[in-house]
Structures are given as C-alpha cells and as structure tokens.
C-alpha cells in the first residue's frame, strides 16, 4: 500500500545542511502494524512525518495506493490526511475546554458530515475505546490514559486507512501504556494499518514489524510473531 523509494530529507541551506534521512526505501502492506525505533535524532520522527504528509521529502518518491504523494499540493495533502490518515500524538493534543465528544467530532466537521451523524459516529468511536460514559468530560477532567483513548477515538472516527502514532505511550505509565497498545492492536486486527514511532522495546513488541533507524538510515528490520 505504501512505498517509499530513495527518500532523502535535508534541512537547512546548502552551506549548512544536515541530512536527516538518507536513501530510505520502504514498503508497507495494508493491515501491517509497523513500529519505527531509533535513538533520538535518528530521523524516525521525520520519517513518520513524511509518511503522515506533515513533512515533505527533499527527494525520492512516496507512493500511496498508486498515488504519487510527493507530487501533491499543500491542499491535496490536507485532503489526503483528512480522508486516509488518523493521527495520535505523544502529548494527546486534544483541544482544551472542549468535551471529549466534541474533540472526537472535529475531523468529521472537515469531512462535511452532518451534525446528527457526527454525534452518533463520535459516540461509537468513544465506545470503541471504552469512554462512552466520559463523552461530556473536558480533557482536563480525564487521566492521561483516558485522554489518549479520546485521541485514538478522534483518529479512527473517520475510518482511516492508516493510523500515524508518534510515541503514543510516551507520556503514560506502564500499565496505561499497555492498555493503549492493546486498543491499537485491536484496531489493527480490524484492518487498520498502523505506523508508530517509539523508543521502547516493550511497546514496539506489539507491532508485527519493527524498523530500526540510525543516522537517517534504515538499519534493520525485525518481524515479530504474534
């Protein structure tokens, strides 16, 4: 489904440049659960951002279901994210002073879903992460684990093809982390492709395939049997 060919990412001007990604080649099949690991500064986040179209490569080709993503305009990339991707962040990134269900509804607003259907779908999404009884709570009234579950609900409410997760357990304790990973694994089993960045082996073990990045190069690949 996803194919990266010769992806390079260079920051800065030609005189003082730093290469973050060097000739990355990668194929991800539909339904895979991919973890990207590596020390900080290895380029794993940049790789995830490129896959999530929040960033663009300096050179190389990114194909998604026969679409050349690198040739898309800024607006087209927005639409690409809107229809095909869901995002989960380390810091949850929920809107403050906005109820859980309103947060989950937000992507549906951009999809142009009618208010009533939006409410129903958001409620279903919250239910799928076990938070239907917290729908009217604002993020500040929820624990970290609950906030991340709301964020997951927001990411999957649009039925995306791919979930992009940037250190989804980075701000959580061990038991909450496992809770979140089990939820993600569940969604993966139901067919959503997940690409996740983490630096914890234990978290990466939930993925079916672990990519190790070092100094901008894809070093090795490990397949986990589940």
């Amino acid at each position: 489904m996803i194919e990266l060919g010769g992806i390079n990412k260079v920051y800065g001007t030609s005189e003082a440049s730093s290469t973050v990604l060097k000739d990355v080649n990668l194929k991800i099949k539909e339904g895979e659960f991919v973890a990207i690991m590596g020390p900080s500064g290895s380029g794993k986040s940049t790789l995830l951002n490129i896959l999530g179209t929040l960033d663009v490569p300096s050179s190389g080709k990114y194909t998604f279901l026969d679409t050349d993503v690198t040739s898309l305009t800024k607006d087209q990339r927005s639409l690409f994210r809107r229809y095909l991707l869901g995002f989960i962040f380390q810091g949850f990134n929920l809107l403050k002073k906005t109820t859980a269900i309103d947060n989950v509804e937000m992507p549906l607003i951009y999809l142009g879903v009618k208010a009533k259907e939006r409410r129903e779908r958001a409620y279903e999404a919250l239910k799928s992460v076990g938070l239907e009884n917290r729908a009217e709570y604002e993020p500040s009234k929820l624990s970290g684990g609950q906030q991340q579950r709301v964020a997951i609900a927001r990411a999957i409410v649009t039925n995306p093809k791919v979930l992009i997760a940037d250190e989804p357990t980075g701000n959580l304790d061990t038991s909450r982390s496992h809770e979140i990973m089990q939820i993600l694994q569940e969604f993966n089993k139901n067919g959503i492709t997940i690409i996740m960045v983490t630096h914890e082996e234990e978290i990466a073990s939930y993925a079916s395939r672990v990519l190790h990045v070092r100094d901008g190069i894809l070093e090795k690949e490990v397949h986990n049997a589940h």
Binding site: N49, G52, L54, D55, K74, D75, S78, L79, R81, R82, Y83, L85, F87, F89, N93, L95, K97, M106, P107, I109, Y110, L111, G112, R154, T158
Partner: protein, 403 residues
C-alpha cells in the same frame, strides 16, 4: 463548514468572554456614535424644518451687515433707522406686516418678585408675524405706539414668575430698572421654539418706548417682514433690497451692507453648521472604529499565537489552510459584528433619549442601521485578515511542536 466555523467562533468568544467584550467595545462605541449622530441629526433638522414651515415661510429678516458663510459678519454693519421701517411700510405693497424689533435683557420687578427676561420693543404687526394671540387684554393702541407710553404685553412664563397664581396681571405696574410699565395684555403660550428657547419668556413694549427709555437712539437692528401670501418671496426680497440699497446711497455694483434673509436661508445656515458638526463627529466616530478594528486585530493575533497548537492539530487532522483562514476570519467578523449589533442598540437608545429631551422628531433610519452593521463586519474582515493569514500559513509540524 461556515456554520461550524460560526459556532466555533461563538464558543471561542464565550471562552474568553471578558477579553472579547473589551475588544468589541471599540466597535460598540464607534457604531453607536455613528447611529446616534446620523439619527439625531436627521431628527433635529426635520424638527427645524417643521417648525419653520409652521412659523410661516413667508417671513423675511432684515439685519445690518452681510453674512459671509456661517459665523462671518462683515465689518460695516450700519443699523437701520425707524424711518427705514416707515419707508418700507409705505413703499412696498407686497408686505402684509412689518415690525422693527429691538431687544435687550432686563430684570423685571413686581411686588417682591424679580425675574430676568428678554425685553422687546416692537410694533403691533409683530403679533401677526409671530402669530401670537392674546390670552387676555389687547395689543398696543396707536397712541401708545406713537407716543411711546409705558405699557407692556407679557408672555406666559413672565406672568407665572412674577404673579401669584390666579392674580390678574392686567392693569398692574411692573418695574423695569429705571422705569415702570402697565400690563395691557397677556399672550397665549407658544412653548419652546426649534432652538429650545422659551418663546413665552418675553416682555413686549412699544418700539418708541424701547428706543427712548432703553437704547436712547433710533437705531434698529432687526426688521421682521411678512410677505403677502400670493407674492413670491424672491420678488419681495429684491424690492426691499433695492429700496435700502438706494436709500443708503450705495453704487449699483456695490455690495449690500445689510441682508434680507428668509427662514430657508436661515435653515441653510443651520444645516451648514450641523453638517459641519456631523462631519467632525463622524470623523471622530470613524477614528474610534479604526481604533476598534486595531483592537480586534491585536486580540486575534494574540489568539492565533495562543492557539498555535490547536492550528497544528486541525491541520494534521485534515484542515486545509483555507479552512483555518475562514475559521479565524469568521471569529474576527463575529466579534466585530456582535460589537456592531450592541452598538446599534446603544446608538438607537441614545437617539431615543436625546430626541425625547431635546424635543426632536424621533427618526431611526433603517439604511444607516444596516450600513453600520455591514460596516462593522467589514472591519472584522479588514482587521481579521492579517491574523487569519498568519494562522493559515503555519507549518503543521512547527505548530504541533509549539509550547
């Protein structure tokens, strides 16, 4: 999308209620002043026009000197003489009534009451010109006029101030500084005129008496003339002007050193002055609108910075730059539009209060109301575009990392 942006904007305004209210205040003040200014101005000029046409548009005022624009008086202002008035009365057939009017302010005494009022020396035609009618008593006799006897006619206000309720003023003697006069008549009340002056606050005496006892010469500074119904005002004006021009031995091409004006000329002068005032006040209102707009821009810039992360989240979720632009633009428009609505309500309230106390006709012009509302929204667009563009130009990665 637009409805959601609107709802979102309302939510944001509610979230920072105090800040939003203060920000919108600039627009409220600006719009309220525009609305009040225009409506009161229109009401006032309608009231003036009405009362002038009620007074009779066929009245001419002769005054010494020439007026050059509002407030400007020529240096040479030679007063008229009583003989001028007599000549006009005899020579010009177009006149229905003519009276010289000399006035001064004096304290009138009766018993232990004293009251400062306006004294006017007049001729009997004055009652006709001003459409005064008598509550009791009579106007002046020929004898009183010719020999300047000490008799006087009182307005209702003067009667109320000097006499005990129920006391009949007719035949009583008032003291006016160095001389006294006998009351021969009391006028029916007319109330305040267009300029808010009480027309019943007056003591009328024969012109001759005024000239002899008060001014000590036969100078006349105002002649009021009522032109016959079927004669055009312009024709009478020309006849009068020519007569005085010749009588003053002015050359044919020389400028008149007196003026003959009618109420509509007076109205022109008034509307010139009020027009100038309206423009000045309008400019002040416009400045306050600009200041209000800058306030909105300032707060929107703060808001964009505060919500950088939110912008990043929205972009990651799939908002296009234009969605972000519209969201912030609508927020600015809603903010200024709400200010506009409140401003209209304030402006109309001010108009109602002022019109009530100043006795103006109450006019609420729907056009200016709609224009003001649209204008307030335009301010939102103009001053909201910079913050909105700043928001929409953000890079999602940087915005998401913003602390």
């Amino acid at each position: 999308m637009l409805i959601n942006a609107f709802l979102q904007a309302l939510r944001e305004i509610r979230r920072n209620l105090m800040r939003s209210l203060l920000t919108a205040m600039g627009i409220v003040i600006g719009i309220a002043s525009v609305i009040a200014m225009v409506n009161i101005g229109k009401g006032a000029s309608l009231s003036i026009t009405n009362s002038i046409s009620k007074l009779g548009s066929n009245i001419l005022f002769l005054t010494p000197g020439q007026q050059h624009g509002p407030g400007g008086q020529s240096a040479v202002a030679i007063p008229f003489k009583t003989k001028d008035v007599d000549l006009l009365r005899e020579s010009i057939t177009a006149l229905e009534a003519i009276s010289a009017v000399e006035s001064s302010t004096m304290t009138a005494l009766y018993g232990d009451q004293n009251y400062q009022t306006s004294i006017k020396g007049i001729e009997n035609d004055y009652f006709k010109i001003q459409e005064f009618s008598f509550h009791e008593g009579r106007d002046f006799t020929n004898n009183e006029l010719r020999s300047g006897l000490n008799s006087c006619v009182l307005g209702k206000t003067v009667v109320d101030k000097l006499f005990i309720k129920g006391e009949d003023p007719i035949g009583k003697k008032l003291r006016l500084q160095k001389f006294s006069c006998e009351v021969v008549g009391v006028l029916n009340p007319k109330g305040a005129n267009t300029f808010g002056m009480d027309q019943d606050d007056v003591i009328l005496v024969p012109l001759k008496m005024f000239l002899r006892r008060i001014s000590g010469n036969d100078n006349v500074h105002l002649i009021m003339v009522k032109v016959k119904e079927n004669i055009p005002l312009e024709e009478a004006t020309v006849q009068i002007s020519q007569l005085i021009h010749e009588r003053r031995h002015l050359k044919a091409d020389e400028e008149d050193n007196f003026s003959v004006r009618n109420m509509s000329a007076l109205l022109d002068t008034i509307s010139q002055i009020t027009g100038m005032l309206t423009i000045m006040l309008g400019a002040v209102a416009a400045i306050s609108l600009i200041v209000g707009g800058i306030g909105i821009m300032n707060i929107m810039l703060v808001s964009v910075t505060e919500r950088t992360r939110e912008i990043g989240i929205r972009m990651a979720i799939g908002a296009m730059p234009q969605d972000i632009l519209i969201q912030f633009l609508i927020e600015a428009i809603v903010l200024s539009g709400l200010g506009g609505i409140v401003g209209v309500i304030f402006g109309i309230s001010i108009t109602m209060v002022v019109s009530h106390f100043m006795h103006f006709t109450l006019i609420i012009d729907p056009t200016i109301t709609i224009i003001s509302l649209l204008f307030s929204m335009l301010i939102g667009i103009v001053f909201g575009i910079i913050p909105a563009r700043k928001a929409s130009n953000m890079n999602p990665i940087d915005a998401l990392r913003y602390e």
